[in-house]
C-alpha cells in the first residue's frame, strides 16, 4: 500500500544524502567537509584541482538557485576566496554551516536519476536526460521498486535520446552496466530504507563513460 501522502518529510543535507545512497552502491564524487577557508584549501590540495566548493548545512536544499555552488576553482587562492564568500552568504535559517569540497567532475552529458513516490503505485525509480533542457525534453522512464537488472537495462533502452549514450563529442560510450548499476542501487536503497520518499541524483554526470552523482538530495519521512 502506498503510504499516506500527508506524512511530514524532511530533506537531508547533500553530504548525508550522498552517504545514504553511496552505502547502497550509488557512485558519488569523492568529497570532503571543511569548517573554514583554510580547511577548504587543504581539502582541495588533497583532492587535486580544479575543485567545486559548496556551502553545506541541514537547512540548505536549493544551492544552485541561491548561488551557493562555486565551480571550477583552479587554485588555492580561488578556493580561499570562494569559501569566504559562501560562509558570508549563510543565513540563520541555514543552521550550522560548513563547506563541501569535491573534485570538478567533467563530462558533456548529464542524466538525472532518482526515486519518487507515486500516490497509487508507491516508490518508483526514474532515469532521464538531465541538464537545463530536462523538463522541456521530459525524456524519462520509470519502473516500480524493486527492479531487476533486466528492468534497469530496459530503462536505458527506453530513453528516446538513447543516441546520447553512444560515443559523444570525444567521450566514450556510456558504460551501460555501470548506469544500470546506479538504478539498481537506488532500488536497493528504497527497499532497505522505507522512510525514503524521494531521491534526486541531479546531475548524474557521465565522465569518461561512467556515471557519477555530483549532487544528491534525499527526502525522508520524519
Amino acid at each position: 500500500m502506498p503510504e499516506a501522502p500527508a506524512s511530514p518529510t524532511r530533506t537531508l543535507s547533500e553530504d548525508e544524502s550522498k552517504r545514504r545512497l553511496a552505502a547502497h552502491g550509488v557512485p558519488v564524487a569523492p568529497e570532503r567537509l571543511a569548517a573554514d577557508a583554510a580547511g577548504a584549501v587543504a581539502a582541495a590540495e588533497a583532492l587535486g584541482f580544479p575543485v567545486v566548493v559548496k556551502l553545506r548545512g541541514e537547512g540548505i536544499a536549493h544551492k544552485t538557485e541561491r548561488g551557493l555552488v562555486r565551480l571550477g576553482l583552479a587554485d588555492a587562492a580561488a578556493v580561499r576566496a570562494a569559501a569566504a564568500d559562501l560562509l558570508a552568504a549563510a543565513t540563520p535559517d541555514d543552521g550550522d554551516v560548513g563547506l563541501l569540497v569535491a573534485p570538478m567532475v567533467r563530462g558533456n552529458r548529464e542524466l538525472i536519476a532518482g526515486l519518487a513516490t507515486d500516490p497509487q503505485f508507491g516508490t518508483t525509480v526514474l532515469l532521464g536526460v538531465g541538464g537545463v533542457l530536462a523538463e522541456a525534453l521530459a525524456d524519462v522512464t520509470l519502473r516500480l521498486v524493486p527492479i531487476e537488472a533486466v528492468d534497469a537495462a530496459e530503462m536505458i533502452d527506453d530513453l528516446k535520446t538513447s543516441r546520447l549514450l553512444g560515443p559523444f563529442r570525444g567521450e566514450p560510450a556510456v558504460d551501460r552496466v555501470a548506469l544500470a548499476g546506479v538504478l539498481l542501487a537506488l532500488s536497493a536503497a528504497a527497499m532497505a530504507e522505507p522512510t525514503i520518499v524521494s531521491a534526486d541524483l541531479n546531475p548524474l554526470i557521465i565522465s569518461d563513460g561512467r556515471p557519477v552523482a555530483v549532487d544528491a538530495l534525499v527526502e525522508v519521512t520524519v
Partner: protein
C-alpha cells in the same frame, strides 16, 4: 475497498452457468429487463433460463414467476439482476437460497449516484460476500461467454467465438471490442463489463482469464487505478501466464508527492503506468482499435522468435512504406541471406527487387506467391513475414464481373481464376505460418474497402486478422515481438 478475488468456482458460475435467472424481466421491449432476456435467448444460450416478473407475465415465451422463491432449487447459478436497487438485497438472498453463486447486477443507483448510492453499494457488497456470491457490477452492461453461448447483456452484439477475453471498466468499450470481433471474425471467449466494480475489478477478471483454457489473450480497458500497486501485482501475474493487452483512458487521480524533488516533477502519472506495464510484460496499446488488433494477433499468430522481418509485396510503393514503418519500430528489416536470394531468383524474372522488401514486380505466375512465401518463411534468418498485395486480382475480377462484357470474351474464366488465386494465397499464408511456427501477417485496405473480396474473406476464413494497412500490421507485429523479447530476456520459455 475490495477483498480477495472471487474463487474459481464463482467465476465458473458467472461465465459457464448451468442456468440463468433474469430478475426483473419486462414485457416492454425498450426495458433492460426485456433486452437482457432477449439477448440471452437470441444468442442460443445452452442452459436453463428462468425469469421473474412482478405480474408473472410471459416474456418472450418464458413463463416467469412473481418471486424467486417460486423457482426450482439448484437449477441456476447465475442471476442477471435488472430490478431496482432497492429490491436487490432481497433478490440476492433469495437467489443464494436457490443455489445461485454469481450475480451480474446491471441496476444503476449505486456508487455512481451520490452518497446514498455509495451506501447502498457497500451494503450490496457486504450481503453478496456473506452469501458467498460473486458480485459483478453493479451498473454494468453484462457478461458474454461464447463457450456457453451466453449473452447476458443489455446491449449488442453477440460476438463470434474465439480466444480473446475482454474485461472493461467501461461497458461501451466491451461493445466496441465485440463489434471489432464481429467485423474481423477474430472471436471472443469471454467478455465482462465491470460496471462500478464494487466487489470484482478488471484485474480480478484478468486473473481468472489467465487460468482459463478457453482464453489465449486478455484484453482490457481501464481508467482510474486507485490502488496501483495491487493492480500491478495482479496484472503482472496474469501477464506471466499469457499475453495481456491494456488500453488506458484518462489521467490517474492525484499528482506526484515530494514536490521538493526534481525527480518528482518529471515523474508524470502516465509514465509511471507505462513503466509498470513494461515491467509487468503487459502490452499497452495507444487506442482501442490498436488494442483489439494486438489482441487478435496474439490470439491467431505465433510469437516471433526475433525481430527479423521480411516484407513480400506485389508492388513497389507498398513495400517502401512498410519498410519505413519497420524502420521506425523495434522490428528489423532483415537482410536476405544469399541462399534465400538465389532461391527466389529461380522463381522470378530478374527484375524482382533482389532484397527486402521482396518486390515481385509483377513477375509472378500461377504458383509464385505461395512458393516465394514458403522460401522466405522457411529461412532460418527470418522471424516474421508481412504479405502485401492480396486481393488485387479479385478486385479486377469484381470490376469485370460487374461490367457490361461479363461473362463473354473469356471473362467468366479469368474472373474465376483470379478469385481462386487470391483465396489460395490467403490459405498459403495461414498454412505456411502454421507449418513454420512464424507469424505471417496479411495487410490490404481491401479488408475494409471490400471485405467480400476473396483475398481478405479467405484470411478471415482461416481465423486470422486481415490488417487494413501495413502500418497497422507492423504495429501489431511489434507488440508480439516486444512480448517475446520480454519473455526471452527473463529466461522464460516462448509458447
Amino acid at each position: 475497498m475490495r477483498g480477495e478475488p472471487p474463487a474459481p468456482e464463482q467465476f465458473r458460475a458467472l461465465f459457464d452457468p448451468k442456468g440463468v435467472v433474469v430478475a426483473g424481466a419486462s414485457t416492454h421491449p425498450g426495458k433492460f429487463g426485456f433486452v437482457s432476456l432477449h439477448n440471452l435467448l437470441a444468442a442460443g444460450y445452452r442452459g436453463d433460463v428462468f425469469a421473474t416478473n412482478r405480474d408473472g407475465a410471459d416474456v418472450l415465451g418464458v413463463a416467469t414467476v412473481g418471486s424467486i422463491e417460486d423457482l426450482p432449487a439448484g437449477r441456476a447459478d447465475l442471476v442477471f439482476v435488472c430490478t431496482p436497487a432497492a429490491a436487490n438485497l432481497d433478490v440476492l438472498r433469495a437467489c443464494a437460497a436457490k443455489g445461485v453463486r454469481a450475480a451480474f447486477v446491471t441496476s444503476a443507483g449505486y456508487g455512481e449516484a451520490g452518497e446514498e448510492g455509495r451506501r447502498a453499494e457497500q451494503e450490496l457488497v457486504a450481503v453478496a460476500d456473506d452469501l458467498g456470491m460473486l458480485l459483478a457490477g453493479p451498473n454494468g452492461q453484462g457478461v458474454v461467454s461464447t463457450p456457453a453461448r451466453l449473452c447476458a447483456q443489455i446491449v449488442a452484439p453477440y460476438p463470434p467465438p474465439g480466444r480473446i477475453a475482454v474485461a472493461s471498466q467501461s461497458g461501451n468499450f466491451v461493445s466496441s471490442f465485440l463489434n471489432y470481433a464481429v467485423q474481423t471474425g477474430v472471436g471472443i471467449s469471454r467478455a465482462v463489463s465491470a460496471g462500478n466494480a464494487a466487489a470484482v475489478g478488471v484485474p480480478d477478471y484478468l486473473g481468472w482469464y489467465a487460468d482459463d483454457p478457453e482464453t489465449a489473450v486478455g484484453l482490457a480497458y481501464v481508467e482510474g487505478v486507485p490502488d496501483g500497486r495491487a493492480f500491478f501485482e495482479q496484472v503482472r501475474a496474469a501477464a506471466a501466464a499469457k499475453p495481456l493487452v491494456l488500453v488506458k483512458g484518462g489521467a490517474t487521480a492525484g499528482g506526484q508527492r515530494a514536490a521538493a524533488s526534481h525527480t518528482g516533477s518529471l515523474a508524470a502519472d502516465d509514465k509511471v503506468f507505462d513503466g509498470a506495464c513494461r515491467q509487468a510484460g503487459v502490452t499497452r496499446a495507444a487506442t482501442v482499435e490498436e488494442a483489439f488488433e494486438a489482441a487478435a494477433t496474439f490470439a491467431t499468430q505465433p510469437l516471433p522468435r526475433g525481430p527479423r522481418t521480411v516484407v513480400m509485396t506485389t508492388a513497389g510503393g507498398w513495400g517502401v512504406v512498410t519498410a519505413d514503418a519497420i524502420g521506425a519500430s523495434s522490428l528489423e528489416l532483415a537482410p536476405l541471406p544469399d541462399d534465400l536470394r538465389t532461391a527466389i531468383d529461380a522463381k522470378l524474372p530478374p527484375r524482382w527487387s533482389g532484397g527486402n522488401p521482396v518486390d515481385l514486380a509483377g513477375g509472378e505466375t500461377r504458383d509464385t506467391i505461395p512458393e516465394v512465401l514458403e522460401l522466405i518463411a522457411g529461412c532460418p534468418e527470418v522471424d516474421a513475414v508481412l504479405q502485401l498485395g492480396l486481393g488485387i486480382q479479385s478486385n479486377q475480377a469484381r470490376m469485370m464481373r460487374a461490367g457490361p462484357f461479363y461473362p463473354d470474351h473469356g471473362l467468366d474464366r479469368i474472373v474465376a481464376y483470379h478469385e481462386r488465386q487470391d483465396a489460395r494465397f490467403a490459405e498459403a499464408a495461414a498454412d505456411i505460418s502454421d507449418r513454420t511456427g512464424k507469424p505471417i501477417l496479411v495487410a490490404t485496405e481491401l479488408a475494409v474497402a471490400d471485405p467480400a473480396n476473396p483475398g481478405p474473406a479467405t484470411v478471415r476464413a482461416t481465423g486470422r486478422l486481415c490488417y487494413a494497412s501495413a502500418d497497422r500490421a507492423v504495429t501489431a507485429l511489434e507488440h508480439l515481438w516486444r512480448r517475446a523479447r520480454h519473455l526471452q530476456r527473463r529466461g522464460r520459455p516462448l509458447p
